[in-house]
Amino acid sequence: MIDVLVIGGGPGGLAAAVSASKAGASVMLLDREHALGGILKQCIHDGFGLQRFHKQLSGPSYAQAFIDEILLLPVDIRLDCFVFEVSCLEDGSFRVLASSRDGIIDVNALAVVSATGCRERTARQVSIHGDRVSGVFNAGCIQNLVNLHGYMPGQRCAILGSGDIGLIMARRLTLEGAEVVGVFEAKKTPSGLERNIHQCLDDFGIPLHLGCTVTRTIGHRRLEAVEVADTDDAMNPILSTSRIVSVDSLIVSVGLIPEVELLKNLPVKMDSRTHGPVIDQKGMTSVPGLFCCGNSSLVYDLVDYVSLASETAGQSAAKWAKNRGLARKTEIQVHPSGPLLFISPSLIDMDSSSVRFFFRASEELEGRTLTLCQNGHEIFKRTYSVLRPPQMETFEIRTELLDPDHAVEASL
């Protein structure tokens, strides 16, 4: 029986495994790929680690810091190992089944940390129609092809969606000699971080078309053109404005969704705002002993926060394994209201000295105040000069301020 089994060797899984091991637990880490680092392996741009390491690192360098650390710890790391089932056993422990090149791995663990990352919404999910041709990609797929395999999607690219990966790939493709004809964003405000708009688009003269979307793909063998149109306030295309843009590839970067497939056959409560499971500040889900962290719990803006939250999850999983059977004593619900895309955690475990909250606004706001109240009583209040959906905000409060008998109302 393993104490803590970590699924995923990206930034979330690495941080969780390191902290669980340091806390004295026996740890096994399973990753589906051939090398540790997760998606960071293909993020060769810099900008990682400003919060944590106070310097700008590339994705692989950021991951390497954790890989160096984990290799010194007694963590049983298995690569090329795909977990396909997690089930709860009667005694409250877990059975994890994985497929590896050495056969089926069938292990039991007292605690499981799921750190399976997130995936991208596809062109189909944003209802792109027209001819079915080769040449339409997700931004992450292009990042993989260009940065890890050395292949180009095309020489004249359009990018749909102003998500960070799309912006970063716009720059990357330009540097590799492709022409990026523009980034098209159906919303009136960009979805990516402001610094990426400046560093990836403005610095390279790539036009950003806000309030404009791709409506149709055109081509026979491979993509030859896309039809774009301006959007109305409900983000529906205005057909009278449609025009044809000749491109040989379309790169779609329209949002990330936590990958929670493994949790689906467990009685895990889901959070409709984060699209991940309901978790407390330690990352524990509604199934005792099952933790979820990183982008598979909610989509973060910075990897530094992923590491931070995942370390807590790893430590808590180790503690859970040590004192097995001790359920959450007192928990408080957090109810969001107002233009909050989400606030996490949505559950507070009182058996802890503090709670770190992460939230995103659902629209661009100026001079708004976030307040936490219990039973009409104000506990926390912070005013933000500007809030933008791409940027996550975080703050920490002490649990001693909280009344264990009342839910927390979070309003913006």
Partner: protein
């Protein structure tokens, strides 16, 4: 209706449209203002109940695009000769090729696309229809009924998934219940077994996702489901196992007839000599018939769109939920439905729209919205957000709305398997039996050669491995014998490297990302290949001994060249 009445009515649609009878078929000519009118004229002409309708009307509003031809131009097939040349590798062509390959005949299949089942044969809902909504006298009813009964044995012998999950035709008005006796009568006339009425209360228990205000349903237990491309691949691979030759990227450009027989088949890859020819060319089957001077029907393509929902929505139904077709009586579709596919997704659709473009597989958001709205009336829990993909295809319809399965009267060694629209997938194995017997007759009549099933014909095909569906011990054992089966490449559908290599080493390998997808489902899940397509392309390049840049996804290359050379 007689010819002069038809001519009067045609003139009312568009002045100058003229009909005449030639060789038993009604021909119509003239200029219409719109393509819709061209179709209306054709439908009208079909009411003459002649041998067929040849619609030569033109229209001003849209122009038909020329047939999409392969880029290949060579002479690699020049001078080859075969006993039978089958034109078209859809489900019908492949089923025919399989049937013929069991005989003492040399068989070639010519397909202008890069794989089998590229067009309508993979762009349908996979239903093995019970056939209750067909007209008792039609050829399609005859073939559907026989084909339906053949699928159980075929799926077991050829190792493809077939589930006889039954279908519910749901009544949405109380007056619909009056038609229950009519259903039973139809069932008896069309030889549909086991049809029974399910009360509103029982329906609610059996199919919890059906709207509670529905008024009961007819249950058709003989209805089933396959993955249509996998069934087609199974037919084709069995044909290939029996030495049938498949030539992809090979389009038929002309047929040379001498002494009332097709003697030569001209393609973009040279001239092939054929003792007999089968026309299974789908939406182009009228054009192939015309090349043999045998014009007695016209194909008017009818486009259908369907959508696939995430496997999370799979709990909606275990079977098929269709609306009673009364409201769509004018539309030539079975009305579509909510179908649980053989792989566990929910499929919704199709709709039906006439189009002049024979190869139009583009989709539109309007179709998706309409289809969803229509079926939400029966299954309210259908959710647009659960759509993972959608696709369209064109049905090869004649104006008689029936199949053309017969020996040509103009070219004695040509057999038509034409105008095969829904329920062509169900009917294909039965059509194949019929066409093979026509070929037998051609050889005995014309060439005085007796054709029989070879004693060494291979009648079975080993089902490809599907590791995610294997019991743990077996899966473990398989991985230990070949570690590639342990390495998962497609995370959504959990397809291993071993399964991908297996399809690339089959008797009919097709080195294309989409061909691999149709065979083992990698890239068919919720991420639609975002994660796995680079790995799949890499495996294809390894297996085909080609460069990564030359690997195609469908008709187009997957990537376009390398990144800049880095200076060292």
């Amino acid at each position: 209706m007689n010819l002069s009445a038809l001519n009067r009515k045609l003139d009312a649609i568009s002045p100058g449209i003229h009909a005449f009878i030639d060789d038993g078929a009604v021909h119509i000519e003239g200029q219409c203002s719109s393509y819709d009118d061209v179709v209306r004229c054709g439908i009208l002409a079909a009411r003459l109940h002649s041998r067929g309708v040849v619609n030569d009307c033109t229209c001003a509003d849209v122009k038909e695009e020329p047939m999409r031809l392969p880029e290949t131009q060579d002479l690699s097939l020049d001078g080859r000769s075969f006993d039978v040349v089958v034109i078209g590798a859809g489900v019908v062509g492949c089923a025919i090729a399989m049937e013929l390959s069991h005989r003492n005949l040399s068989v070639a299949v010519l397909e202008k696309e890069y794989d089998v089942a590229v067009r309508a044969s993979s762009r349908n809902d996979g239903m093995i229809h019970p056939g209750i909504d067909l007209h008792p006298g039609q050829r399609k009813t005859y073939f559907n009924c026989r084909g339906n009964r053949m699928y159980t044995d075929l799926s077991q012998r050829l190792g493809f998934k077939f589930i006889r999950n039954g279908s519910y035709v749901v009544f949405d008005r109380w007056w619909n219940l009056l038609t229950v006796p009519f259903f039973h009568l139809r069932a008896a006339m069309c030889h549909v077994d086991g049809v029974r009425y399910v009360t509103h209360r029982k329906l609610g228990r059996l199919q919890t996702s059906v709207a509670s205000w529905q008024k009961g349903a007819m249950f058709l237990p003989s209805s089933g489901i396959v993955e249509p491309y996998q069934a087609t691949v199974a037919f084709a691979e069995n044909a290939a196992d029996n030495k049938a030759s498949f030539f992809f990227d090979t389009a038929v450009l002309d047929l040379i007839c001498t002494d009332g027989l097709v003697s030569q088949v001209i393609t973009n890859r040279g001239t092939i000599h054929a003792l007999s020819v089968v026309n299974a060319a789908g939406v182009y089957s009228d054009r192939i018939a015309a090349l043999a001077n045998d014009r007695f029907f016209t194909i008017h393509p009818r486009k259908g769109t369907e959508m696939i929902l995430d496997k999370d929505a799979g709990s909606i139904t275990e079977s098929v939920i269709a609306k009673v077709p009364f409201s769509d009586v004018k539309q030539h579709t079975k009305g579509g439905g909510v179908v649980r596919t053989a792989s566990g997704n929910i499929l919704v659709g199709p709709d039906a729209h006439e189009t002049i473009q024979r190869e139009d597989d583009s989709t539109s958001s309007q179709s998706i919205t309409d289809i969803l709205a229509k079926h939400k009336a029966t299954v309210p829990s259908l959710d647009k957000r659960q759509i993972i993909t959608y696709f369209s295809g064109t049905r090869a319809c004649t104006y008689e709305e029936d199949f053309v399965v017969e020996r040509s009267t103009k070219a004695g060694n040509l057999v038509h398997a034409a105008g095969i629209q829904s329920p062509g997938l169900t009917a294909a194995p039965a059509i194949a039996v019929e066409v093979a017997s026509d070929i037998d007759n051609i050889f005995s009549d014309i060439y005085k050669r007796s054709i029989k099933v070879r004693s060494d014909a291979i009648l079975t095909r080993k089902a490809p491995h599907v590791v995610s569906e294997m019991p743990l011990e077996q899966r473990d054992e398989l991985i230990r014998s070949n570690p590639d089966y342990g390495q998962i490449v497609c995370r959504c559908e959990q397809v291993s490297r071993g399964e991908i290599i297996e399809v690339l080493r089959s008797s009919l390998p097709v080195y294309n990302i989409d061909a691999v997808k149709r065979r083992c489902r990698c890239g068919m899940g919720r991420c639609q290949g975002s994660f796995c397509s680079p790995s799949v392309a890499g495996i294809i390049a390894e297996e085909a001994h080609c460069s990564f840049e030359s690997v195609c996804k469908g008709l187009g290359v997957f990537v376009k060249g390398k990144v800049k050379e880095t200076s060292r």
